[in-house]
């Protein structure tokens, strides 16, 4: 079987998709018929880190683009970027290990476990959006645990990257 080396354009596209999914999960990106408009709050430094919930920050501007609403929060965008970057590095490592036949597909998939918790931590109003969408009765008693989902994602992505490096995956950035 021919094993192809990692493709950065593909990895970049998947990482971007993941960042958009994360923004959708926390409600900063949404679809629906809206107007064309732009709103920004008066500039205040403290708005940059004003919290809506654990690991969820207030927007400083909002774009309505006909069929798409984008709430712009620098802190949420930074978190989405870090998650997407870690995903990209993990993907690169998994593909590189697979190309050199040092890692099976199932091991590669296992290393992506860190992708999911952050998507499940999305916030809404009185409860995380996951609870609202899934409507799982009684799950609200565990709501405090949802604050740990994003750190869990970051930790799992870092750990899986460390595992890849020990298996011989090539270094991508100076640290990872």
């Amino acid at each position: 079987m021919v094993r192809t080396p990692p493709s950065w354009p593909l990895i970049g596209a998947l990482a971007l998709l993941y960042a958009l999914l994360y923004l959708y999960a926390i409600g900063d990106l949404d679809f629906g018929r809206v107007e064309w408009s732009w709103q920004a709050l008066d500039w205040q430094w403290q708005r940059l880190l004003a919290r809506r919930g654990p690991w969820h920050f207030e927007a400083v501007a909002m774009l309505e683009l006909g069929v798409l609403v984008l709430l712009l929060s620098p802190a949420n965008l930074a978190l989405a970027s870090v998650l997407a970057l870690l995903l990209a590095i993990n993907l690169h490592g998994a593909l590189a290990l697979r190309a050199s036949a040092q890692c099976s597909l199932s091991q590669g998939a296992a290393s992506s476990a860190g992708l999911w918790p952050a998507l499940l931590a999305g916030g809404a109003c009185c409860a995380p959006s996951l609870l609202l969408v899934m409507g799982i009765p009684g799950l609200g008693v565990f709501v405090g645990l949802f604050a740990w989902l994003l750190p869990l994602s970051l930790l799992l992505l870092v750990l899986s990257r460390c595992w890849q490096r020990r298996r011989g995956a090539p270094r991508v950035l100076w640290l990872l």
């Binding site: 629906g32 809206v34 709103q39 916030g123 109003c125 009185c126 995380p128 609202l132 009684g138 709501v143």
Partner: protein, 344 residues
């Protein structure tokens, strides 16, 4: 300054602080029926997810006239209407679902208009010189507010402080009508309407809990998300009722049953209750009396203030508000249910 003088000075400052915060607390409301102790309620509080003020109350609300609001409100959109001291205001549900509290002023009164999406309850309170915020905690799945003068926790449905310096105090309620924009505008053509300039950025085109038209998401799902103190299966959990209470009894009227009646009479011990259906607003108005109530529905007319009839003079109006059945029952497990299944 000697030690005794310093102690006296500190005591004076402490007394001033305490009395100052007490003065700034919301005005005391009437005694209200409670089915559990304040301590039991405080112990049953749990986190809803976002922290304190994670759901930001609207502290500087802005209003438009009805014509401007028509640009972004559909006739069937739910609004919470308040008529107070000759002023009518509508608070769109699609805005309040993201904020839960509006600290407003109508006439000379500071009012907090509160809405809990999880229990579908919209209740108005006199807030006095302070304002209310969203604590991030829930009691029986219902929003718990806090006042910014004493930081006490207030239950929305119970209308009382369950802990903090204000523990035991009740809030004075103001009628909030759950209706549609078209119905409210027909009754109050001069109404003002809360605008989307709330001071926070939210996607007011989307309700994160689902939708009322059509009924979808959390509002349609049969299950509860958070634990409650009492449960009952006589009605589906999310069925809407109109609830009100006197000092001794809580009464829930099935909204579907109310729509089939012009008036409902109910006697509980030596208390007499009258519920009047308001067809235009699709709501009900509740009254209490110590003597039997006689009313010919043909004499009723409806104005901005609500139902008018000579027979209503002398009756005690009771604040009523819509709620999901599970939430009302969780707070009032001894509630009377008027749903037409038994003759009252």
């Amino acid at each position: 300054m000697g030690n005794s003088q310093r102690t006296l000075y500190r005591t004076l400052v402490l007394c001033l602080c305490i009395s100052g915060s007490a003065l700034a607390m919301p005005p005391e409301g009437p005694p209200r029926l409670l089915s559990a102790s304040h301590e039991a309620y405080a112990n049953a509080m749990l986190s809803g997810g976002p922290g304190k003020d994670g759901i930001p109350a609207i502290d500087s609300p802005r209003f438009s006239d009805a014509a401007s609001a028509d640009a972004y409100l559909e006739p069937q959109d739910i609004v919470f209407g308040v008529y107070h001291q000759g002023q009518a205001r509508a608070y769109p549900q699609r805005i309040l679902v993201w904020h839960e509290i509006v600290n407003d002023t109508l006439g000379e009164d500071g009012l907090s208009i509160s809405y809990c999406p999880l229990t579908a309850t919209a209740v108005g309170f006199k807030r006095g010189a302070t304002s209310l915020g969203v604590s991030g905690k829930l009691l029986n799945s219902n929003v718990v507010m806090y006042d910014r003068a004493s930081d006490s926790h207030w239950s929305q449905i119970a209308g009382v402080a369950i802990d903090g310096p204000a523990k035991g105090r009740s809030l004075e309620e103001v009628r909030v009508v759950w209706t549609t924009w078209a119905r409210w505008q027909a009754r109050h053509p001069q109404t003002q309407v809360l605008t989307r300039a709330t001071g926070a950025l939210r996607n007011y085109n989307r309700d994160p809990y689902g939708s009322y038209l059509p009924l979808q998401g959390y509002y349609a799902a049969p299950g509860l998300m958070f634990p409650v103190m009492h449960q009952d299966s006589r009605l589906p959990a999310k069925r809407m009722i109109l609830g009100f209470r006197s000092e001794r009894v809580a009464i829930a009227v099935d909204r579907a049953h109310l729509r089939e009646q012009a008036v409902l009479h109910y006697r509980h011990g030596d208390e007499y209750f009258l519920i009047i259906r308001d067809e235009q607003l699709d709501t009900g108005w509740a009254y209490r009396s110590d003597t039997p109530i006689e009313l010919d529905p043909a004499n009723l007319r409806f104005t901005a203030e609500g139902p008018q009839a000579a027979e209503l003079e002398g009756l005690e109006p009771l604040n009523a508000f819509d709620a999901m059945w599970f939430a009302w029952y969780a707070f009032y497990p001894q509630t009377v249910l008027l749903d037409g299944s038994h003759a009252p």
